[in-house]
Structure formats: C-alpha cells, structure tokens
Amino acid sequence: MLQILFDALSLGSLYALGALGIALIFGVMRLVNFAHGDVIAFSVFALLWPSTDALAIVFAGQLPWYLLIPFVLIVGALLSVLCEIVVYRRFRHASPATMMIASFALGFVIRYFLLMLFTSRPKSISLLPALGQPVEIFGARLPLLQLITIVATICILLALTLFLRRTRFGLEMRAAAENFSMARMLGVRANNVIMGAFAISGALAGAIALIFGSQTGTLDIQMGASVMLMAFIATVIGGLGSLPGAVLAGFLLGAASVVMQVFLPIDARPFRDAFVYGAVILVLLFSPQGLISARGTKERV
C-alpha cells in the first residue's frame, strides 16, 4: 500500500514538474511549448560525447554529483532561453495556433539534431548510481531514488513558490501571467520576464531529465515525448496558465496511472495510458476550463 503511494507520488512528481515548466511559459506568453520534451532530452544528452555506440561515452557525466546536477539544469535553462531568443521572440504577436505549430517544429529540429549526433539508438548510462539502493521505511522497501525524487520535487515546488511570492522578479512574473499588457504598462520588462520564465522552465526540464535518466538507466532521444504529453494534459486539466492547478493535475495523473497499473486486469494493463488519455478527455468535457481556471484565460465574447 505504501509502495503504491510512493510510486504514485514519484510518477506524479515527474508529471508535476513537466506541467509546471509548460504552465510557466503558457502563463507569460500564451505559448503551448511542444519543444519542452525535446529540451528534456537535450539537457541530459549534453552529458555525453556524440557517438553512435549503444554504450554511452560519458563526458560530463563523470562529474561529482554536486557539479553534475547544476550542469544539467544550466544546460536546460540555456537551451530554453536560446529557443526564446532565436525563435519565439518572432512570434510574440502571433496567434496561439501559430505558436503551437512553431514550437512543434522547433521540437523536431532539436530532436533530429540529437539524432544526427547520437543516432536513434537508446543509450545505457548509469547516472548517479548511488541512488539505486533500496531503503526501508515503515516496513516498505523503496528505492532511494524514489524518495529523493519526491523530496526534491517538494523542495523545488517550495522554492518556486517562495520565489514567486517573495521576490520582485516573482511578483513581476505573476503580474505578467495575469495580464501581460497591463504589467508592461506598469513598468515590467517583457523580455526579462519571458526569458526568466524560459530559464526556469528549462531548468525544470533538466531536473526531469536527471530523474528520468537515473530511473530508467537509458537515454533515448524520444524520452521527453511521453513525459511531455502527460505534462500537457496536466496543464490543460489543471486549467491552462494556473501553476497550482498544473502541479495538482500532475500529481493526480501520476496517481491515476499508478492506480490503474495496480487495479486493472492484467490483460488491460498495457493499455493503461490509453485509459488515462480517455479519462482526460472526459474530464475536459465536464470542465473545459480545467480544475482550477486561471484568471484572464477564459474565453471572452
């Protein structure tokens, strides 16, 4: 039972972090960032030398953990900001649909750039191997990694909340998410806020990449796609643009996946994700604005 709870929490953490990264960007510029999943993949592939072998040639991965973690986070943040400067800046005034397709295309560019350097073969790597050992808590044997994932996610969420509530930059960002043009008129610098949002979102992508990579032990250029899809769904269910909603929905999706994994009949288990997507469409039908709808994103007549 405890095992199920922890499984749900750790899977939910992944989805929640992903959803947060997408919701942050959506909040400030109404962009549904389909490239997020590929930023996830890129930030962890930055640890490797380009090669075509199945066994990864580690380059920065041999750094001690207190250097390795910041390295991945910074790579994620840098790539994300770079995307903003090179591509999304051109689309500030475009319609959401246009931006959506542009980010979809950008994601493909990043993915095939990785494919060009690393080929499409998955690579095995042992990231942070010390985390694989099991620990015993309340009579349940859990991998240490799972515990750290949950704790790290909670820390990240707390830090982000503090940042958004207590600092000037956070205040500006929240103001921009609420009403972008009004915030600009009151002296919030648009470029700073947007680049800040992209940097945080990229760092979150790096965090996901680290957790995901050390959980599975393999790196795949497609690895961001599944997390990203669930993260999107979480942002939509949570109410687009609402950060608490995104986090809540992320954890809910994680819980739903784990619960279905446990309680579905064995024949139906491979279809777990299909059931989750189906459930999502149902939720959207009953509350198209999501569970917690953000102010300013409702459709107006």
Binding site: F108, I281, L285
Partner: protein
C-alpha cells in the same frame, strides 16, 4: 417588431425568388470548380510524366506524393475550414491503414500473425480498392464517435485533446498484440505499384474537400471560424458543423491510411505517429492552412525538397568524392523552413487564395 421582421420577410418572398435561390448554389459551384480541376490536372501531369520516364524509384516517390496529398487534403478539410488545430488526425490514418491490412492480407498469413481478429475478417480477402473504401468508412465512423466527444471543446483544449486521441490510438495499436501485431510490423499487405490508384485517391480527396467547402455545412463552418460569435448568433450550430468536417476529414485520412498501407506493404504503429503528424502538418502550414490549393501545393513543394535532401543524405558523388549530409538534416531543414514561413508568412505561401484560371476580384 424587429423580432418579427425575419418571419415577415420570409413569408413575403414570392415563390419565384425561392426558385432562384437554387441556381445561386450552382453559381457558387461553377465559380469555384476550376480550383479542384486545376489541382487535379497538376497531379495528372505529374503522374503522366512519371509514367513516361518509367523509372522505378521515381515511381515510388510520386506514389508517396499522392498519398501525402490525400492525407494533407484530409487535414485541410478539418483544420482549414474550422480553424481548430488538430494533432490527432494521423490516428484515423492509423485506423485506415490497419483496416486495409486486416482486409487484404492472405487469410493463411493472417491466421498466424493476427489470431485475435474475428472469424469473418480472418476469412475475408478483398481487392485493394474495396478495402480502401471500407477503411475510409471505418475511420469516418471512428471520427464520428470520437468527434461527438471532442467537438464540444474549442481552442487549445481541443488541440491537446486531439493529441491525447493520437496517443491513445497509438497506445492501443502498439499493445493489442493479437489484433494489431503490437509494435512489430504487419507484413503481407499486397503492394500496388502502379500510380493510377493513388492518383485517383488524391483526386477523390480533392473533390471531396471542394464539395464540402461549398456545401452549406462548409460555408457555415468557415463563417464560424472567422466570426464565431456572429455565426453562432445567426444560428450556426458550431459543434455540429465541426463534427461534419471532422467525419469527412477522418474518412479521407482513413483512405490515405489504406493507400499508405498498400504503397509500402507494411504497417507499424510508429508509421502513424508523431513523424507523419509533423510532416503532414508542415506541408499544410507551408502551403497555407486556409486554402485547398495551399494544401496540395505545399505537399508537392515540400515533397520535392524532401527528395532532394534524401539524395543528399544518400550522398552525391562529385569527382570520386562522395558528399553526404548526416542523417536527420532532412527533418531539421523541414523544421527550419516551417518556422521561417510561420514567422514571415503565417498564412502560408498561398495565403488564403485558391488557384483559378482568371483571378477574380475578391472581397466584393
């Protein structure tokens, strides 16, 4: 008083005016018929040219072009007319492709590879054109069921829900081993090597798109795309008109799926996933989402570009040294072109215009 006036005027219209209303519809058809005819002629010209050169690899390339024309026109029917972006249409292509596989594979092979199929399908072996029609109907029915649910959403929620549909269908087809063969490929679909069936498929798609666009439902849908509030106030049932377009485009996507299956002889769930979604969407965007001509011309232009990049990936020999681009350049180039076009010309190369013989003055 003002509320009563529409009924008053409706009663006041003499019967002759009602009779005159009908030719107006035909006038619209006459005015726009040149577009599908010209586009079809373009495809026929490509086909005849290919037939005359008689080169096998070129033949296969042109077949791919026709299949993609079918798919992109299918996408256009929904996205272009409704203005709602859909990432999920390739799911219907997947349904169509597998339906064609189920209906045409040799029963002996089918019994061993896909034992979970119902008995009557296991015994069945249809010619390819019948299977293509049934595949289209099957995908259309699936679109009707899913669309009934999806079309109540709008905007970004609708786009992401269509993405969820794509992922859902992909998960099901990748795991339902006894019926779809799981992630391994389903082989033994009869391969059709002549270009004519594909040409006919593409032309059918183009004329269907045209017929839908000038139909009552298509006109209402485009009105709803441009002015949702005004259209709804004038009595357009937006979810219903969207559903009609969704079903028609789903059926065309299914037809395209069947054509895909017969052109390569193999289907896998991954054939019909993000890669194909990306390529078809980019073709639609480059040509112009708002016009049928944009859809067709986008396919032709981008297919030519992809072919050139493929040759370069394979390597060009220039004086004993082979220069080859690394693999992946093709997709990167496509992505970059798409972003540049979106940034510079968001409505695509053709804008929202259609090709006609005589450029009439619009905006009358």
């Amino acid at each position: 008083m003002t509320a009563a006036s529409p009924t008053m005027s409706a009663q006041a219209v003499p019967p002759s005016a009602v009779a005159e209303h009908k030719p107006a519809r035909f006038a619209l058809a006459r005015k726009t018929i040149m577009t599908p005819i010209l586009l079809s002629l373009l495809l026929v010209a490509i086909a005849v040219l290919t037939y005359l050169t008689g080169s096998r690899p070129f033949n296969q390339t042109v077949i791919d072009v026709f299949v993609r024309v079918t798919l992109v026109v299918g996408l256009y029917i929904f996205i272009g007319n409704s203005g709602v972006l859909s990432f999920g249409h390739i799911a219907f292509t997947c349904l169509g492709g597998y339906a064609a596989a189920w209906l045409t594979i040799n029963p002996i092979m089918k019994a061993s590879a896909l034992p979970g199929l119902p008995q009557f399908i296991l015994d069945l072996r249809l010619p390819y054109w019948q299977s293509a029609v049934i595949a289209a109907i099957f995908a259309g029915v699936a679109a009707l069921i899913l669309g009934k649910v999806l079309m109540r959403l709008s905007g970004i929620a609708a786009s992401i829900a269509t993405f969820a549909v794509l992922a859902m269908i992909n998960t099901i087809y990748a795991n339902w081993d006894s019926v779809t063969g799981g992630t391994s490929s389903v082989v033994g679909i009869p391969i059709i090597r002549t270009i004519w069936p594909y040409l006919i498929g593409a032309i059918i798609a183009i004329f269907l798109a045209w017929a839908h666009a000038i139909s009552r439902s298509g006109l209402a849908l485009r009105a709803a795309r441009d002015e949702p509030t005004a259209a709804a106030a004038s009595g357009v049932d937006i979810p219903r008109e969207r559903l009609v377009a969704f079903v028609v485009s789903g059926a065309v996507m299914g037809l395209g799926g069947a054509l895909t299956a017969h052109s390569v002889g193999v289907v896998t769930p991954d054939t019909f996933y993000l890669g194909l979604t990306f390529i078809t969407l980019s073709m639609l965007v480059v040509g112009g989402m708002g016009s049928l001509s944009g859809a067709v011309i986008g396919v032709v232009l981008l297919s030519a570009l992809i072919q050139i990049l493929r040759w370069m990936e394979a390597g060009i020999s220039i004086a004993e040294t082979t220069i080859a681009l690394p693999k992946g350049v093709q997709e990167i180039a496509l992505g970059v072109i798409m972003i540049v076009i979106l940034a510079l010309r968001p409505s695509g190369l053709l804008g929202n215009r259609e090709v006609t013989l005589f450029q009439r003055k619009r905006n009358r």
